[in-house]
């Protein structure tokens, strides 16, 4: 079954594509790239449950499909519950001898709205019940599929269609919900953040999340040229800046132990990241200073947690 591999430095990546060409993602979509990499890391022996959203819409218009692995979409907010049923179903069918024993990973895929807003109850339930599944949240920081409406994952100061910047508003007035920390609070064995600008880190984390026994959560930063308003060739650069400014730190939490994967001695100023995108264009210096202060504080907290577990 094993196909060809491509060698990039020390890394071997399968040449197989599990999300076929012909999909309808926007040009330069960071999420499409992240999905492609994640699927390469997971391989063939998966069943993917996909929430309603960009990925679902861009890969599955009847009568065609981009999916070369078994895939199911049912609704928006129930993906973790559907995954629960798949995982429990496979396990019991194998236990009862109705299906040959084999390792099939159940993977749930959803956007930030499907995860941190409407799907959080089903996700919390599935984490708590300790289903053996991997949940991938592709975070493009708003409801992009329906036209850039704010979600609880939209960052402070971003302008969206339902929290627009205006004479009396800076746009989003709340801080981004910390979904990875919410996952950690469920005491699941593996939580990580990833970004397609760091492709091997992303693939390693998805692979690790897939191999872990029990629930795993990988939160994937997914730059969106359409919603964030940047040129279509900038996704990688913007992802890198998000990490280098500390806005989206790359870390993993294995059995409660924190580890920062990319830790620069000096973070770049958040302004370098904010100025690349139209959604932050209206922000004045005082707001940028406020964001800087918040990012510094959050990053320090994260570093302190990682320090607790440093060798």
């Amino acid at each position: 079954m094993e196909g060809k591999f491509i060698k990039i430095g020390k890394n071997r990546v399968t040449a197989d594509e599990f999300v076929a060409e012909g999909h309808s993602f926007c040009t330069g979509c960071g999420e499409a790239l992240a999905l492609r990499l994640a699927c390469k890391a997971l391989g063939r022996d998966v069943i993917i449950a996909n929430a309603t959203g960009c990925i679902e819409i861009c890969t599955s218009p009847l009568p065609v499909t981009s999916w070369r692995v078994p895939w199911i979409h049912t609704l928006f907010e129930n993906t973790a519950a559907t995954a629960s049923g798949i995982e429990a179903g496979l396990k019991i069918l194998m236990k009862k001898g109705k299906m040959p024993e084999r390792d099939i990973k159940c993977v749930a895929v959803a956007g930030d709205g499907g995860t941190s807003d409407i799907g959080i109850q089903a996700l919390s339930g599935a984490f708590e019940r300790k289903h053996d599944f991997l949940y991938l949240c592709f975070d493009n920081e708003a409801y992009m599929n329906t036209g850039i409406q704010r979600s609880s994952a939209t960052p402070y100061g971003a302008s969206t269609t339902t929290a627009p910047a205006g004479k009396l508003s800076i746009g989003q007035t709340t801080w981004k919900k910390n979904m990875p920390e919410i996952a950690v609070a469920h005491n699941i064995p593996y939580v990580a953040t990833a970004c397609p600008s760091y492709p091997f880190d992303l693939m390693n984390k998805v692979k690790k999340g897939g191999e872990v026994k029990g629930p795993a959560y990988v939160h994937i930063f997914s730059p969106c040229p359409t919603g964030w308003r940047y040129a279509t060739d900038l996704a990688i650069e913007i992802g890198r800046l998000a990490v280098e400014t500390g806005i989206f730190p790359l870390y993993e939490v294995e059995n409660g132990r924190y580890k920062l994967n990319v830790d620069r001695p000096n973070l770049k100023p958040v302004e370098e990241y904010l100025k690349t995108q139209g959604r932050f264009r209206h922000l004045l210096d005082e707001e940028i200073a406020k964001i800087q202060e918040h990012v510094d504080e959050e990053y320090a907290k994260l570093k302190a947690k990682a320090a607790c577990f440093a060798a």
């Binding site: 063939r44 022996d45 998966v46 069943i47 449950a49 679902e56 819409i57 599955s60 218009p61 009847l62 009568p63 065609v64 499909t65 999916w67 070369r68 692995v69 078994p70 895939w71 199911i72 979409h73 049912t74 609704l75 907010e77 129930n78 973790a80 519950a81 559907t82 995954a83 629960s84 049923g85 798949i86 995982e87 429990a88 179903g89 496979l90 396990k91 019991i92 069918l93 236990k95 009862k96 109705k98 299906m99 099939i104 109850q121 089903a122 919390s124 339930g125 708590e128 019940r129």
Partner: protein
Amino acid sequence: MSKRVGLEASHAAAEAARMADVDVIAAYPITPQTHIPERLAEMVADGELNAAYIPVESEHSALSACLGSAAVGARTFTATAGQGLELMHEVVYVASSMRYPMVMTVCNRALSAPLSVWGDHSDAMAVRDTGWIQVFCQNSQEAFDMTLWAFRVGEDSRVLFPVMVHFDGFNLSHVTEPVILPEQKEVDRFLPRFQYPFALDPDNPMTHGAFGPPDIYSEAKIAQEVALRKSKAVIIQGFEEFGDIFGRYYHPVEPYGIQGAKTLLLTMGSFSETAKIAIDTKKDKRESVGLINLRLWRPFPFEELRQAVKDAETLIVFDRCISFGGPGGPVSSEIRSALCNEEERPKVVSFIGGLGGRDMSVKDFEYVIDRGREIVEKGSKELFETVGIRGKVTGIRG
């Protein structure tokens, strides 16, 4: 040997799920359904049933988990009631539209507000058009029988639809009655192993639940409608096979003493048994009355119904649900539309009662029959009348 035991309908349904050797149960507790998941959880805990019991955090997730387990080919069961069915409402449509066989017991319960844990058919009527095969039970034996039958029919490769088995909350769910339990080998003969032909499988990747653009959605929905209607042949075949093995024969429309009867009463669920006593009482007084127990609700048994009522002068339909601002009780308006183009047809009278656990006595049904006949004789402008409700309700005009 089969055995005769005392079981409440909830435990009878759970026992049927056990004998069907279900693989996955995903359920969230809600009164008056609780005895079903409790009993199943107990069976799993005691090793009497080898199944995955998923204690989900809501009914929405209960049915969503059922979608997942059915999609990989597991025999799947759930149960709910009232608000629970409403919370899972959007998932109910998806289960049938994605053609996932599974069985759901609904212990019929009234809908809030005001909150009521007691029985009526408001929950069932709210999911009337969701594309599930739906049957109603009169007693605990039927709760067992219909559950077993539901797996057999829904899983048939000519059908592949989920099946909802309705029985009345408390009036049935919590009432212990004699139930004949068959031997396991008889159940195995009736119910073959489930082989879902489109199971999600990495060796044969399939896409389930792709979205339907306007150039394909209509055809997909019409195909679903045609398939549901065609399932009636298998539904009837399933009733016959069930009867041949277990000795109890069921029908989509079940007449009781209708031969030559001028006035017919139509009921669904456990109240049919009370109504039968009212029919007996009236027959003792030589009144020309009979009863129709409507068992199969979806797909609607048009032919069987027309055949059963064609010689009657009056058909009184009793509903346990209000269609607010509509043409009468939901069952009565369906019956009217089923008969409206028939040349020979009875006059249809609509009654609503038994809401939110309000009991209907034999005397209440006698009143319904008497008043129904009077309405036909004297005429009435009311779209429906009520029974067992304090005060006189008038002015319900079309």
